[in-house]
Assembly symmetry: C2
Homo-oligomer: 254 residues x 2
């Protein structure tokens, strides 16, 4: 499954808040055997949200958005998506029930602003938010899926985890290992990585990351990963390849 | 100045590495009076890099990229940008001098892979990297600027900081304050925020962030910011507005 991630919100766009939501979603999506295709960070502006959604729909099976589901004037995600997909917005009785279930026991009045969180694009499936108010929203449109999650990290993770099985890739498995090579510079590894990628690039992915550029303290983190129909095959390929690098660049204590 | 940020690299795209570079660049750009317009996260693939660059050039004065400047086979940023802008790649003698300055005192041989870091799009200005090898690269093209920074955070920050004065907005200043309101829910503040934004939205920006959705421990972080030609005017507007919210929603101890 090809996945794109749209991060919505001025606080993330301006760098006031770090985008840990992106990292979580991208990492979990990858570990479930999917390919993350593109990430977008946009403001709370319907034109910007529509632009990102339109681009993502042109190449991805699943688009996951974070942010913009709350009760304030600039929570525009659902309105923008409805507009972009030409869907009407309507009161969703399941979403309203979820809001009641969260708010009534806490004596929180269901004001007009809060009821907005139950106004969803027609045909949406609300997903219960066990740690906050705004439900997640799953929209199926022309064979693609759009999952809208809140921007508060704990809420986003709880909703994602509650339906993650649906996004497990049943055809492909992902395996990855990383190993640090102290005292090695990226440039030393470059020729072998290039050679191996030429030979095995359709089955393996090898990436080096310099960990520090300062003087003699340099070090390379090598990451080797594989997508394969067979999990043990992916694991075997990665381990064999890592062994080659360990033999070539590893210190005795590794 | 309108700024877009392109984060290049499979490790960031897949969520293996958190995108702290984005947060740093977006935050610093904002504090210097600029508007961050869009963020893109793409793989180490020339077609993907070109797509993001093409889109960013259609609306931004400065495009800042991170990642893909190193010596390995998948460091494709400069090649991709040269291709997208129809510029030739050539050995840049200033960049080569920078590489020598970093490498020779450390007895690091200037291999073919490493010399690749001095092959820049024609007309580029290399920017010395004080903590690593790959120089930053500044390209001016049809009145727009493209600043390419390495992906290693310490190197990215050092290069950015060495030329940050050039990206200071001389016409606009930014001022921002945040205040936490414990025991307040976002929905309670929504009507006043909406009303105030209607009245002052052209001079101020007010944003609420729920800090926790769990039971009685909820809390709202309110952020008020302003761009203004006059720094003291921006500061005054923000402080007056914050005072209104403090009076309305603040506890006695605030």
């Amino acid at each position: 499954m090809e996945i794109s991630i749209i991060s919505i919100g001025n606080e993330v766009l301006k760098g006031h808040t770090s985008n840990s939501n992106y990292t979580f979603i991208a990492r979990q999506s990858t570990l479930m055997g999917n390919h993350v295709r593109r990430g977008y960070t946009v403001s709370d502006d319907p034109a910007e949200i529509s632009w990102a959604l339109g681009d993502a729909l042109s190449h991805s099976d699943l688009i996951i958005t974070t942010g913009g589901l709350g009760p304030t004037y600039d929570d525009m995600t659902l309105e923008s998506i409805a507009g972009a997909l030409n869907l009407s917005l309507e009161n969703n009785s399941d979403a309203m029930e979820m809001l009641r279930k969260r708010m009534l026991p806490r004596n929180i009045p269901l004001t007009q602003e809060r009821m907005k969180m139950a106004v969803l694009p027609k045909g949406s499936e609300p997903v219960f938010n066990p740690v906050g108010s705004a439900p997640g929203v799953l929209i199926t449109h022309n064979g693609r899926q759009i999952l809208c999650l809140p921007g508060v990290p704990q809420e986003m993770e709880a909703i994602f985890n509650s339906i993650r099985e649906r996004f497990q890739n049943s055809d492909l498995h992902y395996y990855e290992e990383s190993l640090e090579f102290p005292g090695i510079m990226e440039g030393e590894m470059a020729p072998l990585i290039k050679e191996e990628m030429k030979k095995l690039g359709d089955r393996l992915y090898i990436k080096s990351h310099p960990l520090s550029g300062s003087g003699s303290g340099y070090s390379v983190m090598l990451e080797i990963s594989s997508y394969n129909e067979d999990y043990s095959e992916a694991r075997k390929l990665v381990k064999e390849e890592l062994e080659l690098f360990r033999k070539t660049f590893g210190k005795k204590d590794q």
